[in-house]
Subunit: 239 residues, 2 copies
């Protein structure tokens, strides 16, 4: 939120110092020295506590590392839990070309399960979006996404986007938090036909409840061809 003030001419001093140091430091190799606190005091004509406030923020961010008696240095990037990735991003990471074919996109009344997951009342309007997704032209998965229409009015009318997560991000609603469940199963007849499998072939089922802040924005169920898809994830955080 402080960042918003940078565009204004009257940015807070500690923000000015922080952003100045950030530009110096982004892209620099881990271990490179940052300016010393006293150097920044002279450069900006501010008190040392102000400089420390600026540097503190960057240290908390994980961008800088202080070493008493030596100085302040660019920190080695910390490993943290994965950002939630969209299907497009996932496939791009694997070097595959993602494609999507909308099978269904309409308003529905929320059933009991979807209503509970989306934190809405049964019968409330939700958007149901079903897509067959391919990678390098081969069927990969079928995804049923349910969205809370109250949060994204006019979504269906605005033309369906390529990437759901990009569309949500444009509205400030990209999920940053998700509860997932994953299990192994076999394909139903309908699924097998769409995925070009024989019924009974192995599939991976993935359910997600994705939230942005306090709001549940997405509930989805995806069924993947097990022979083409292995889920990768990183969990935990470096101490």
């Amino acid at each position: 939120m402080d960042d918003l003030l940078v565009t204004e001419g009257r940015a807070l001093k500690h923000v000015q110092v922080r952003e100045y140091v950030r530009t110096l430091v982004t892209g620099a190799a881990p271990g490179s020295p940052a300016p010393s606190e006293r150097e920044l005091v002279h450069r900006f004509g501010v008190a040392r506590m102000t400089v420390r406030q600026a540097m503190d923020a960057l240290v908390v961010e994980g961008l800088l590392e202080r070493i008493p008696g030596r100085g302040t240095f660019v920190a080695r990037p910390r490993r943290t839990a994965s950002r939630l990735t969209s299907y497009s991003e996932e496939m791009a990471r694997r070097g595959l070309l993602p494609e999507s074919q909308t099978l269904l996109a309409r308003r529905e009344q929320a059933g009991p399960g979807v209503a509970r997951a989306l934190n809405v009342s049964e019968g409330d309007a939700v958007i149901h979006w079903r897509r067959l997704r391919r990678a390098d032209a081969q069927p990969m998965c079928i995804e049923d996404a349910y969205l809370n229409e109250v949060l994204i009015p006019g979504f269906l009318q605005s033309g369906m986007p390529t990437s759901l997560y990009d569309a949500l991000e444009a509205r400030g609603l990209r999920p940053t938090w998700a509860e997932d469940s994953i299990n192994a199963d076999v394909a139903s007849e309908d699924e097998a036909e769409l995925l070009e499998l024989t019924p009974g072939a192995s599939v991976l089922r993935h359910s997600r409840r994705g939230s942005a802040g306090e709001k549940v924005v997405e509930v989805s169920r995806t069924v993947y061809r097990a022979d083409r898809f292995t889920m990768w994830l990183q969990v935990g955080a470096e101490s």
Copy 2:
């Protein structure tokens, strides 16, 4: 109030204030007010910047939340990515009784795949621990864990623990970071026999590379009965 501080002979002032506030605040309901900064200034006879340093630390920890013009309050606990949980913890969470039967526990020479994953050289000594794991007396999964023997000397001789993660934790090596891969498959004949399945039944395969700090401490492959196991996980972090 001084009573709390007696344990520390020469604690730093901001640490004294921080720990005093922490004791007041732990267990308090989210939204409860913390002492105001000026109140702490008077109580401890310190400068306000010192109090702010103390409170800043608790805010960064996620314990407190500042609301300008109103005060400082106990924060609602933040959602963060799951701690890495052991099998025992996972089953306990589901209300099931975990059991483990060691099928194999010995030193081996690392093969190419395990060596690469564990960051050791091919042929280095590794510990291979294979267990059949049950939940409420029913077969649940087979786990093959590989451990870097250099990090845990005497592990095999010390008697096998019930929980690998507890044993690693006792050595300061509990993984806090993992790279996982998950896919769906069918049981092999050997797996089917141990898991009391028919060959070809659905299973969930889970591979993990778990690290503590910079060290890779655990590489494991686990095969779960799909009819009894659904993986749950939480990803991302609240913004």
